[in-house]
Symmetry: D3
């Protein structure tokens, strides 16, 4: 029995609120139960130095948590003179995943930055950030196309992400904080809508996992990500 | 005529949403028109080293803006290895103002941190942060009293803040970004509910101001702050 | 009775020593009693990136205190990897105030940096820095005109600054450290020689202040600043 | 055909040189072909604050590259005032993996730091660091037992790591730099000697991977890691 | 012929102004011609962690230059988030040299920090700082003895320092900036009043120096340092 | 009697292993007994901004120690957000010394960076770094000439360095850590193969040294450096 009473293959209530803020080219609030992440996409002409003149665009991400998004207040990273290791790891993952959504060559020399800011945390913030970040990214691309900043329609594939894990010996989908903090294994899965893997990060926390446990977790992830693609389409439209 | 069509002494729509996040001891979303600031109060036992053993409590504030809270994306302070000068100035002002709300000696050795995070900016974020921060502070004190962490009822006075300025030669109340960026003079006023000043910061932007202009601006501020005290009381209760 | 025996509207002995150092384009040592600040103005061709090509000049300020300018040694900011919040606040204030002295458009694309370094502190260092900084600034402009770096005569107005406050219930002018550290209210006033305000920063330290107290403090400030304009003119000449 | 001429399931020449430096409690140079990493284990009494009094030990890792370990000189991290995101990610991975090797409760309140410094890089430095780091860790534990610093024999399981990937459409084992920089998918696998997974990190670089490609890569990893366990045992002894 | 017209073995005018600032336990302004350095000694009870409980005292130094102490404005180190390499080198040298003046064991557990701040630079700032720093140090020790903070009279030997060099092929004493910036060899010599060396740092700038040149430079240094000891005694008294 | 049993004028076993790493244009492992330093020279087109367009080249050095190169683990500088003062001092010394080896004007606009990384420390790491760094530098220059990046043959003179000191009252050559940590005087001497001094840095550690002691130390240094030139020539060839 899960603490939340959910079935092993049951997602939390997922909600996407588009246009959550008014200045960004793409903006969505994504909620997985009590986990709430603002995803804002900013479109900028120009690319980083290593791409100048390549004709290719760039997508990158930044991640942050409000100090009191968590049960116990965390120190604000801006006052510590650096981003922590966990933050850096997460924002690199979000950026890599979202770059897999778009043919950067077709994008042309523009940069899209996805800011993922957690205003309330209850487990699964990075997978929520990727899933919501994809929506903000598509909104920004549509915005750029409407304003003729992007002339072609770059080929894209939908990207979504969910966590799976083993809790009390049982593979489960979409861990909340209660489960995440006691899970024996924790795995984040990012897939595209062709059903292929973009990234898998599985970590044993005390209980090394077997081939069959891995297979069961990946099956759960595939199921959950399918539902997320539906949620994304409701907001973005048929594309 | 103001860009927003408001009368010179007219506030924007002000809205306070309590319990905006679920973990903090005090939490409110404050909106002044399009300006939206999350104010979270965190209660912690213990005080900074300079107050250890004094029997006195401490209240401090931190301020941040989401990178895309503004029309043009700002760099994230956590990635720049420091808080900017404007941020430091603002959070020092918020902290000083809110310390004036409570008798710190009666508070006992606890620390309350008020995090003010701007999720959308349209002028007046610091005065919104002080006005909303006072609400979050009172919620945290009530929480602490309910949990017997604070035994006495510390004497408090309500604190609110508003901006005034001179735009197109005319003194006006509660400047939005359009006005703020072109104002000849910009002044932030913080008052208590006894009608006295906690802090005044007036800056001429190109047009040094006279005694009579100062008097007119302070009169507008007093009027606007009176309305804010009503809004605060609706959320906090009669105290 | 004030600790120094001064009348409520009496300045400390004010002394300006021009050409205090030999390399800077403008240099003055300003003393308010035991408070001593070196103000050096450096003239540089070119402007910051945000003004390139605008034809407009720039004036900025930096502030520092020698570690043992104070009664108790402070840590050196250079060894702490950052300037403290108070330092940042003060140097932003000095810069804003001195930019109000000169028509930057007429200055042309040059930058003048005013370094204000406190070698001995006894209260009122920021107002001394502004008052002395104005002198160094005028010297640098005269130097630039003599060397034909500035071709026009930019319109300027004299700027001076003084602190006022309420000590033991009494409004007083030009607080020294003894008064400053126990004042109920502390206010820094910057005015131009047309008698208008450039900036007002008043902070209640435990005793919120009334309209009439504010009026009395501003009257004292106006009186003191008048004397400072005379002292400045003795050094700069009739202009 | 692989650039090195190796078969798809063929490791590079792996060499472990114990006691490579003389001061550390555990020290080994590990070579995978041209990749060379010094792994030094340092034993220290005491644990980080969050474990004080818990009776439990701690294992952590740091990772660095000599500036000219790579084909093009990299900037030295010590001169950049921070470790880069890649470095932080890698050293967190090494630390997590090696903590899975030892029952920290049985270790008692000691800390072992594993420094992994790359003196020459040709792909696979993080997996070499984990595989060599395990050897240095065991040497340090044996040293501590010989010196009676650790009284019990903490339960351990061997840990080793290898990279696999898809190059030119073909799953291959132990990618060198030539392969790594052009691979369609890159995966790092860490396993214990019971044949279970400690961590899996697979990233599609342009070519999302299927379930069957994943299965084939994991099979190659299992094969390679088996050989690494033999190499480790030759140096550590039967344990 | 030297640019200043001095004889090869002639010092610049050396002037020591005691009690230059009013808060420090020791304070002197030292001038070598146009080089002017404020040396403030701060006495503090307690010692750094590595000396706690040792019964031994500590002497350390910090060095800084006002941004416009030089002909061209330098960036302020506090705004660059670090002290430069030259600064660190110099303050380590000053600290080492002054520790050689006092028997730290007899000093007892107190710390004396010597702040050397250059307000005007014309070559030789580090040797001026050492020579003036010794005076400030002795004043602080006398102050501490008068206040019974130091009970014994710690054994001391006078320390002074001068630069020598080879300019236009000629060994000369006490280089000013004109000479320093073109010298073939530059050497800083620190000696005690027993005629022995505390530190020698000689650097060839383009012209490696011979044994006989070294001997001649050391002879000049010995001569100059003898004069400095007289100047120090005039200020400190016979000791 | 020295702790190592060596005669006062006896070097430790010195060994130079060329091509120690495979990517750098110059690479050597230098060993002085247990002291082991990797010296890698990296050749780069272009020069720092202050030399752009001058036609002159640049040589600089960086120095680091592996955390466990020492008996007790040191904190990694990259995790401390800065290089320590000792590191900065040493790398500036190495850079200055090696610039004296080459006529930078004849080098043309290329930069050579010498990375000196200590993998095992037992005293004398900076003198080993200079002596080995010279070899790596010459290899890089030969590499650049072979590849026609440098067209002329820049005039060079060999540079080597050794430490001398006074231990137990006796001048000795090439101090190891046991001697270094208890020496009364410690001196680093850098010479060229014309027998002239490039740099002398002598520091009294508790025992100020006399003229005759200085003379004896310099004589020992000259003897030791002569042997080092032979070792260098064996690796570099006749030049």
């Amino acid at each position: 029995m899960r603490p939340s009473g959910r079935a092993p293959n049951e997602l939390r209530a997922v909600k996407l609120t588009p246009e959550f803020t008014c200045h960004a080219e793409g903006s969505v609030l994504i909620e997985f139960g009590n986990t709430k992440v603002i995803c804002n996409a900013s479109l900028d002409s120009g690319v980083p130095p290593f791409l100048k003149g390549s004709g290719q665009g760039w997508i990158t991400a930044e991640y942050g948590m409000l100090p009191r998004s968590t049960n116990k207040r965390m120190r604000r990273e801006a006052t510590q003179n650096k981003q922590g290791g966990r933050t850096v790891e997460i924002q690199r993952l979000i950026g890599r995943s979202l770059r897999a959504a778009v043919d950067l060559k077709q994008l042309g020399e523009v940069t899209i930055v996805i800011d993922c800011d957690v205003i309330q945390a209850d487990g699964g913030t990075r997978t929520a950030a990727i899933t919501g970040g994809y929506v903000a990214l598509m909104q920004a691309i549509n915005n750029a196309r409407a304003r003729k900043i992007i002339k072609t329609v770059p080929a894209t594939s939908a990207i979504a992400s969910i966590s799976v894990g083993i809790c009390n010996g049982e593979p489960v989908l979409d861990l909340d904080y209660d489960e995440d903090s006691t899970a024996e294994t924790d795995m984040n899965v990012i897939m595209n809508d062709a059903g292929h893997f973009i990234e898998i990060q599985g970590t044993a926390e005390g209980h090394p996992f077997s081939d069959s446990e891995l297979a069961r977790m990946l099956e759960l992830a595939r199921h959950g990500i399918g539902e997320l693609f539906s949620k994304q389409r409701e907001v973005i439209g048929p594309g």
